[in-house]
Structure formats: structure tokens, C-alpha cells
């Protein structure tokens, strides 16, 4: 993280302030002093105000709501302590959603980041038309998740889907992508991968390009293969970037909602993620409880548990990635 270079020569932007005479200074000068001291805070304030009111406050208030029997329409029905949480721990739908969330997260994140590394390595070769290839891999990322989910719902259709058609060409029987748990998880993960692999590849590519070239040259003089150079020079050099993408993907992956929600067009309104909840994630369950069944207290308990899980996984991820990447 680069930070604003604090300039050593303290002249120019900072006007000397003579405190004893401040009162007698012309208003213009005093205004100038105020301007320099206060305006910076005023112009960064909107960010903190918006984030505080619409981001942080609701998140923290979720903890308070989760301790109540709170109905979305009828409001607070009284403090119940940890009752929502004890109920949650005995709720098999919660465990099912947790399992699905973890499975989808693992299936989509790890292959995706590996693929992104490989793609970045390809893009890092001296290519003709670099701008074209880079734009091409980023394209899926700017398409709305809602549209992507609808297209993939068709691609993975049981009867007329093109994936089943292609599988049929090599003699595989049609897969019912929505009914089977593992199949639905594969299909949904492929959506996530489609949207994010290129984006992460560009982030890796940017990091790779700042690896000093002499490191590669000396490795080549030592006769290292491209494969070895990649794993023992490139990957360790971009370790901080890999950590960054792993954490960001974790935070996003555990909150997966739109892809599974729209994967089953017929069941979209219910939000149960398939007839047997095969692909209902935690955020989908939160949505179902909160906005379909109006149980705000219970829904908030789900949110807060997920928040804790995200914190925990982010920390574990951080330590793990650091260790793996440093081995090289």
C-alpha cells in the first residue's frame, strides 16, 4: 500500500499560523486557515457518512435484532436472548445451507484462482494485440449476474441444454443439473468462475509485470525450466496479490446469492434453492427467512453467524495463503 508521500519541505501548502494574533487577523486570512484545516475533512466526510449509515450501522444493528423476536412487518416482539441462535443450531436447513455455501465456495474459488494464475501467465508472454486479449478475458466480469444466471440456466438445462448436448456427443447420459446436489454445485461454480477468472487474471498479470526481469534471467542462466521459474519465482513474488485475491474471493464467495437464486428459474420466487434445497446458500436462507417469511430476528441470526464465519475464514485464509505462497 503506498501512502501519500509526506513532503519533507513543509512550505507552500501549509500557511504559518500565528496564534496570538489570530483574533486580530483579517477575516480573509482566518478563513484561509479554516479552509486548510477543515475543508479536507469536509470533502472526505460524505464517504464516511454514507458508509456509516448504510453499511456499518445496519451490519452492527443486525446483532441487536438477532437477540429479539423481531418480525419484519410487525416489528420488535421482545428480547429473547440467544433463542434465535439455539434454534439455528438445531435447524437442519441452516446446516444444509452452510454445507452448500462451503461446497460452492471451495468449488468456485480454488480452481478459479489457479486458472487465473495460469491465464495470467499466458497473458504475460509477449503477445500481439495485448489490449484485445486483456479486454476479452475481462468481458464476462462486466455482465450482470442476473443475466449470466439466466444464460447458464439454459446452458445447463436438463432437456435442451447445450452442456448435456455436448456430453451426449461423448456418450455421457444427460445430467439433471438442478436435481442433483453435486451437479448443481458444479454448474453454479462454473458461473462464478466464468465471471471472475479473467478479472483475477488481470490482477495477477499486473503483479507479475512488476516482478524484476533480472530474477528470471538469472534463473534461466541456471537452466531452470519455465514451469519451475513460474512456481519458484513468479508465484512467491506475487504472494501479497494472491493473498489479496484469496481474501476478497472468500468474502464474496461465502455471500453467494444471485447465481444460485436465479439458477432455478421456476423456483426463483421461493428462494429455497431447488426442491430439496440442494443449492440453497446461507444468504439465500437469510433472504428466505427475512423477506419471504418475515422473521427478521432469525434472519439476522443467520447473518451474524455468517459474518463470524467470514471473519474466521478470512483469517485462516490469510495465514494459510501466506504459508503456502512462501514455500514456493
Amino acid at each position: 500500500m503506498t501512502v501519500a508521500p509526506a513532503r519533507s519541505s513543509g512550505t507552500g501548502t501549509k500557511r504559518p499560523v500565528p496564534p496570538p494574533r489570530a483574533a486580530r487577523q483579517p477575516w480573509r486570512l482566518r478563513l484561509g486557515w479554516w479552509d486548510l484545516k477543515v475543508t479536507p475533512y469536509l470533502i472526505i466526510a460524505p464517504f464516511f457518512v454514507v458508509f456509516g449509515i448504510f453499511g456499518l450501522y445496519p451490519l452492527l444493528y443486525t446483532a441487536w435484532v438477532s437477540l429479539h423476536d423481531w418480525q419484519l412487518i410487525d416489528g420488535d416482539q421482545g428480547f429473547v436472548g440467544l433463542a434465535n441462535y439455539t434454534e439455528l443450531l438445531a435447524d437442519q436447513h441452516f446446516w444444509n445451507a452452510l454445507g452448500n455455501t462451503v461446497s460452492l465456495f471451495v468449488l468456485s474459488t480454488f480452481p478459479q484462482l489457479l486458472a487465473a494464475l495460469g491465464l495470467a501467465a499466458l497473458l504475460d508472454r509477449g503477445l500481439r494485440g495485448r489490449a484485445f486479449w486483456r479486454a476479452g478475458v475481462l468481458l464476462p466480469n462486466v455482465i450482470s449476474v442476473a443475466a449470466v444466471a439466466l444464460v447458464f440456466a439454459q446452458l445447463f438445462g436438463r432437456d435442451f441444454g447445450i452442456i448435456n448436448f455436448l456430453l451426449g456427443l461423448v456418450g455421457v447420459d444427460p445430467v439433471d443439473w438442478r436435481a442433483e446436489t453435486w451437479a448443481s454445485h458444479l454448474a453454479i461454480s462454473s458461473m462464478v468462475m466464468w465471471r471472475w477468472t479473467g478479472y483475477n487474471a488481470l490482477i495477477y498479470l499486473a503483479a507479475m509485470q512488476s516482478v524484476p526481469k533480472d530474477m528470471y534471467e538469472s534463473a534461466m542462466l541456471d537452466g531452470a525450466s519455465r514451469w519451475r521459474t513460474f512456481w519458484s519465482i513468479t508465484v512467491p513474488s506475487i504472494r501479497p496479490t494472491i493473498m489479496f485475491t484469496a481474501i476478497v474471493s472468500t468474502i464474496g464467495g461465502l455471500q453467494l446469492f444471485v447465481e444460485p437464486q436465479l439458477f432455478d428459474p421456476g423456483g426463483t420466487a421461493t428462494g429455497t434453492g431447488g426442491t430439496d434445497r440442494q443449492f440453497q446458500t446461507l444468504v439465500m436462507y437469510l433472504y428466505e427467512k427475512g423477506f419471504r417469511l418475515f422473521d427478521a430476528g432469525y434472519s439476522s441470526a443467520i447473518a451474524w453467524v455468517l459474518f463470524m464465519i467470514i471473519l474466521l475464514v478470512a483469517v485462516v485464509n490469510f495465514t494459510l495463503t501466506r504459508r503456502i505462497a512462501s514455500k514456493g
Partner: protein, 285 residues
């Protein structure tokens, strides 16, 4: 290191990639584009064409009929209009507020500036989506349910814009110009308006378009706080198309193609700059 110097144009930095690399990239590119093309393909055909034993990759002749059905099924004009208002307002606001804040963090010195900037970066890691229940209650209390400001106001300024514009100011706003303006007695805001903003206008434009696309694509929060019948955005209208009693793929994907069109247009125009912005953020972030 004489040898190394002599060999400087090494195969890592300059040598061109072989046909194998290009072949792999072509495959990746096809995978990127195919779902979009497929969406358009289905949109151009009658639903019965889906049952063909061998799917054809040639567009059919039903595109306009299907698009017409989209407008008959949901009020897609209203949805487009709403999305335009939401994404437009959010983009302009992020340009103004993001550039102001970015300018402050890059070029003004104030107590705690660096620490506050780190806080800005940190907030982008906070899973605020999980606060959706109280956020909904807040909007109800404000009587904002079903109104566009419920979607606009929380998105008026994001960490990403502040970060992006701080980067731009670091690059393009020289200290000398700011000092000159100050010596001439310009206030901070005047300095910003006459010196900093003109210098970063190109980056601000790209950031604005990027924010526009993000706001246009947003789904989770609009789905919750907007009324699908009275105040849908394009993405919410898409989910309405998808929730019919039977799955009408031609209809759904006609809607999806329409929803994607403006974003793909912007992307084609500005791809180079958007790629640049993302990659720069990665290195310096």
C-alpha cells in the same frame, strides 16, 4: 552480469508467444463470449427451436417478436428508465464525491489522512450485504421502500471510487500547480475545481462509466427494496421474467440480451481504460 546484459531481450520479456499460447487464449476468449452469443441466439429463435436434436448456431428470425414479448410481459421501458436514473445518478455522484475525496487524500495534508485512507480501503472488505435486514427497516422508516432513492443513496459514494481517484490525482495533479493556485489565494475547493479536476477528467470519466456499469448490474439490494411491479430496475425485471409458471427461455434471454447491451457497449468503447484502471489498482493497492 555482462552476459545477462548482453542477453537482455530475454524470452520472458520480449520474445513472442508461440502458436500454442494463442490457441489457448482463443479457447478462453471463445468461452468468454459464447454465453453472450448463446443468449442472443436463443433470443432470436422460437422456443420450439430449443428442442432441435442438434442445436444450430445460426440466429433465427424471431428476435423482434421475442423482444416485443419482453415489453408485453414486464414494463421494460420503465425498468430501463429506472436503471438509467439510478446508474446515472450514482455515477455522477461517485465522480464528484470520489474525486473530491481522492484529491484530499492524494494532495492535501491533514491530520490522520493516511490512517483514514486505510480505513476507506478496509471498508471495502466489510460484508455490508449481511446488514440487509436493518437496512430494509431503515428504508421502511424513511418511507423509501419502492423508491429509487433507496437504491441510489447508499451507493452515492463507494470506497472503490475514492481509491481510484486518489490514484489518478497522485499521477496527474502536480504539486506545483496546487501551490501556485494557493499562492494566488485560491480556496481548497477552487483549487480542486480549476486545477485538480481538469487534470484527472479522463480518469474520472472512466471511473464514472465503470460505476455506471456496476450500478446498472446491481441485483441483490434492488430486488429487496424495490417493488417489482411499480419500480423495477432492469435486473429486477429480469428476475420477474424468470419467475413465470413455466420457463420461457426465449423470453428470458431476450430480456437478458437487452439488459446486457448498454454495458457491453460501454465496455467495447472503454475496455482499454477499464483494464488499465483495474491493473493499476492491483499494483499500487
Amino acid at each position: 552480469m555482462a552476459i545477462a546484459t548482453a542477453r537482455r531481450p530475454s524470452r520472458f520479456s520480449v520474445a513472442h508467444a508461440g502458436p500454442f499460447v494463442y490457441a489457448l487464449l482463443v479457447v478462453v476468449l471463445l468461452a468468454s463470449v459464447f454465453p453472450l452469443y448463446y443468449s442472443f441466439l436463443i433470443a432470436s429463435k422460437d422456443n420450439s427451436a430449443l428442442g432441435d436434436a442438434v442445436p444450430s448456431l445460426v440466429p433465427g428470425g424471431n428476435l423482434f417478436e421475442n423482444l416485443g414479448r419482453v415489453f408485453d410481459t414486464v414494463d421494460f421501458w420503465l425498468a430501463m428508465q429506472n436503471s438509467l436514473v439510478v446508474a446515472g445518478t450514482v455515477a455522477i455522484s461517485n465522480v464528484v464525491l470520489g474525486t473530491l475525496a481522492g484529491f484530499a487524500f492524494a494532495r492535501l495534508r491533514f491530520k490522520g489522512g493516511n490512517a483514514l485512507f486505510l480505513v476507506v480501503i478496509g471498508t471495502s472488505m466489510v460484508p455490508t450485504q449481511l446488514g440487509v435486514i436493518p437496512l430494509y427497516m431503515l428504508m421502511s422508516d424513511l418511507d423509501w421502500y419502492g423508491t429509487l432513492q433507496a437504491v441510489i443513496v447508499p451507493a452515492l459514494i463507494g470506497a472503490f471510487s475514492v481509491f481510484w481517484m486518489r490514484q489518478a490525482c497522485e499521477e496527474s495533479v502536480p504539486y506545483e500547480l496546487i501551490e501556485a493556485a494557493r499562492v494566488d489565494g485560491c480556496s481548497v475547493l477552487r483549487t480542486f475545481w480549476h486545477v485538480a479536476f481538469p487534470a484527472v477528467r479522463p480518469q474520472a470519466a472512466v471511473m464514472g462509466m465503470f460505476t455506471f456499469m456496476t450500478a446498472w448490474n446491481d441485483f441483490f439490494w434492488p430486488l429487496i427494496v424495490l417493488d417489482p411491479n411499480d419500480s423495477p430496475t432492469v435486473q429486477v425485471a429480469l428476475s420477474t421474467l424468470a419467475s413465470g409458471y413455466y420457463t420461457d427461455y426465449s423470453l428470458m434471454l431476450s430480456g437478458a440480451s437487452l439488459a446486457v447491451l448498454p454495458v457491453v457497449g460501454i465496455f467495447i468503447l472503454l475496455a482499454r481504460q477499464i483494464v488499465g484502471g483495474i491493473m493499476q489498482g492491483a499494483v499500487k493497492g
